[in-house]
């Protein structure tokens, strides 16, 4: 069984985001593997351990993203690929085209990814990639099994659970609760250091850069306004209701 897992490096969720000239300041920022991708990675490695196979991890991103791949190698991934060609960076449309080109270099039975990246929160890359490859996809899964050659997953639907069966190849996106990601062992880290990470560029992937140019453009970025302190109404219920209606009418202007 051949398994592909998609990884994205994102801001550490504990980092303070700062804007500098309208751009997010990346200086001295700590990067982590997108937390949902961690679940995908864990599941990919666990599936390999249980059913056998080979896991490849791929990331599209700058050189710093290599550390995400090293981590993946340290926890049991067999092969790692980085597409660090800047001309291939872009929006979800572009990235899924690039990932499709990578996926087509081999034939994968299973593709795991996080259900969204915590930085842009688009949740598009997984489904888009599946469409590019012409394979089914199931999003936000919370359990994964293989039975009689079929994939059987539980999917989180706004608090309810759907049980879905699918043939392989299939792409699934991981939701929180799917598993508890393992941490790398020291021997794992040492072994990962000795493995090479494959680097791919537009040429290797036979990609026409014009054709996959992003469909979206960032026109501006700003931080959300700081929440102002709330107002606590005083008095008995009658007075409070009266004041609330006054405020809704005159200050918030939502009642006319």
């Amino acid at each position: 069984m051949k398994i592909l897992v998609l990884l994205k490096q994102t801001f550490d969720t504990e980092e303070q985001i700062e804007l500098f000239d309208g751009e997010v300041n990346e200086n001295g920022v700590k990067y982590i593997i997108n937390p949902y991708d961690e679940y995908a990675l864990e599941e990919a490695v666990a599936v390999k351990e249980k059913y056998g196979g080979e896991v490849t991890a791929v990331t599209v991103g700058p050189d710093r993203a290599e550390s995400a791949l090293r981590h993946a190698l340290a926890v049991g991934v067999d092969r790692a690929i980085i597409v660090n060609d800047e001309s291939l960076f872009g929006d979800e449309y572009t990235i899924s085209k690039v990932l499709a080109a990578v996926a087509k270099q081999d034939s994968y039975d299973l593709i795991f990814c996080g259900h969204m990246a915590v930085d842009d929160g688009a949740a598009q890359v997984g489904p888009r990639l599946a469409e590019e490859l012409g394979i089914p996809h199931i999003t936000t899964i919370t359990n994964f099994e293989i039975e009689d050659g079929k994939v059987k997953v539980e999917k989180d639907v706004e608090g309810d659970v759907e049980v879905i069966e699918a043939d392989m190849p299939v792409l699934v996106t991981a939701q929180q609760g799917l598993n508890e990601p393992r941490y790398p062992s020291l021997p794992g880290i040492m072994k990962a250091k000795k493995k090479t990470i494959e680097r791919l560029e537009a040429e290797d992937l036979d990609i026409d850069i014009e054709e996959i140019a992003p469909k979206t453009e960032i026109v501006g970025q700003y931080l959300p306004e700081r929440k102002k302190a709330g107002k606590v109404l005083k008095g008995d219920i009658g007075e409070q209701v009266f004041e609330l209606v006054e405020l809704l009418r005159n200050e918030a202007k939502v009642i006319i």
Partner: protein
């Protein structure tokens, strides 16, 4: 220091932090208050290979150096954990590795590396032989293919949480040796093979809450092949690991210091008294800044000592001793600054500061006291008269 090396250091830090992050400060508080050995944490560290880090690859470990070991311990303490509970498994095997017979090494090291066997007790100190180790009275007498050992030890850590222990005993009494450092031998005792009654342990309650014991040996039988190194040369088998040990202990102390700086800054910035964060007062801010600088300076000497040690520079020993002194003093100063910053809350167990403070204070005494390092530097580095 090469880029590759610092890269490795970063990986080590992150790897250890990942494990530590799953054991919060309340876990450590419970372990301390209930006198419970942190078995789950030690197992997690062992399973992930961290405690076999210093054992060479051919014996199943990862073959890392001592600075890397120091970083592992530093990260445990920095997270609010207690590195003392695991440091022994990391390095007690050193004497076995350097001086043990090939057979002993093959028999034990791979299992120590995997964590299946715990070697985390080293019995040296006796009631009448503390700092002056040559005065130990525990006696080992060879009878056929065995040594018969009698005597007592005090302050022996983790005896109830180990499978193996190293033991120093006199094979020739002090009054019959040419040099007082002669006539002491080092034994590897496999507790699993010791019949009931040959070692008696009485727990000693300490402020540190750990597993500390007084041990009595009653005709303890140890197979002759469990002698490490030559008979009578045991002290040397231990002493040549001293520099490495100082490097490791420095890392431990450093981690405590960094923990206190983190805590003091976070708490102090949030605690509002007289309508402003208390860290806005120079009386609170400056001691924290000062302790931080002392830690950074001590850390720099530690890295210098480690580099020299790797390059087999003979002055590494002096530097490692000084680094141990400076790291533990700086860590204690950080503990003091932090305690003052927390005010009354420092006394409340749930704030964790008092517990870490006690651990940090102890590092100025054990495994080597600051006084002894001062006398070493005075005599051996600065060539002043021996002070005792």
């Amino acid at each position: 220091m090469g880029v590759a090396l610092t890269d490795l250091h970063q990986d080590i830090r992150e790897g250890v932090r990942e494990i530590c992050s799953r054991f919060d400060q309340d876990y450590w508080r419970k372990s301390h208050e209930e006198h419970r050995y942190p078995t789950e944490f030690v197992k997690a560290m062992s399973d992930a290979g961290w405690l076999g880090a210093l054992i060479p690859e051919e014996y199943g470990g990862s073959g890392l150096g001592f600075l890397e070991g120091a970083i592992i311990l530093e990260e445990i303490n920095r997270s609010g954990g207690n590195a003392n509970q695991v440091h022994a498994q990391l390095y007690t095997m050193g004497a076995l590795l350097r001086h043990g017979s090939e057979e002993l090494k093959r028999r034990y090291l791979p299992q120590i590396a995997s964590g299946e066997l715990r070697l985390q007790t080293f019995a040296v100190t006796e009631p009448d032989a503390g700092t002056d180790t040559t005065k130990i009275k525990t006696r080992a007498v060879k009878k056929g293919d065995k040594y018969i050992i009698n005597g007592q030890k005090i302050f022996i850590s983790r005896f109830n949480n180990t499978d193996l222990l190293l033991l120093l005993a006199r094979t020739t009494p002090l009054d019959q040796v040419q040099k007082k450092t002669h006539g002491i031998s080092l034994f590897l005792v496999d507790k699993r093979e010791v019949p009931e009654g040959q070692i008696e342990a009485t727990p000693i309650d300490t402020m540190l809450g750990g597993d500390t014991n007084q041990l009595f040996f009653n005709d303890l039988e140890v197979p002759a092949e469990n002698l490490i190194g030559e008979e009578g040369r045991g002290l040397y088998c231990v002493m040549d690991g001293m520099v490495a040990e100082r490097i490791l202990v420095s890392g431990s102390a450093l981690g405590n210091g960094k923990y206190f700086i983190d805590q003091a800054v976070n708490y102090g910035n949030q605690r509002i008294v007289f309508d402003r964060p208390i860290t806005q007062n120079q009386g609170i801010q400056f001691p924290i800044a000062k302790a931080y600088m002392e830690l950074r300076a001590a850390e720099a000497l530690l890295y210098e000592a480690a580099r020299k040690f790797d390059e087999k520079d003979p002055t590494a020993g002096a530097d490692a001793n000084m680094a141990k002194y400076l790291c533990s003093e700086a860590a204690y100063n950080a503990a003091e600054a932090c305690m003052q910053t927390f005010g009354g809350y420092a006394a409340a167990n749930e704030y964790h500061i008092n517990r870490k403070w006690m651990q940090t204070r102890m590092m100025k005494i054990a495994p080597i006291s600051s006084n002894l390092i001062l006398s070493y530097v005075g005599q051996h580095v600065l060539k002043m008269p021996r002070s005792f």
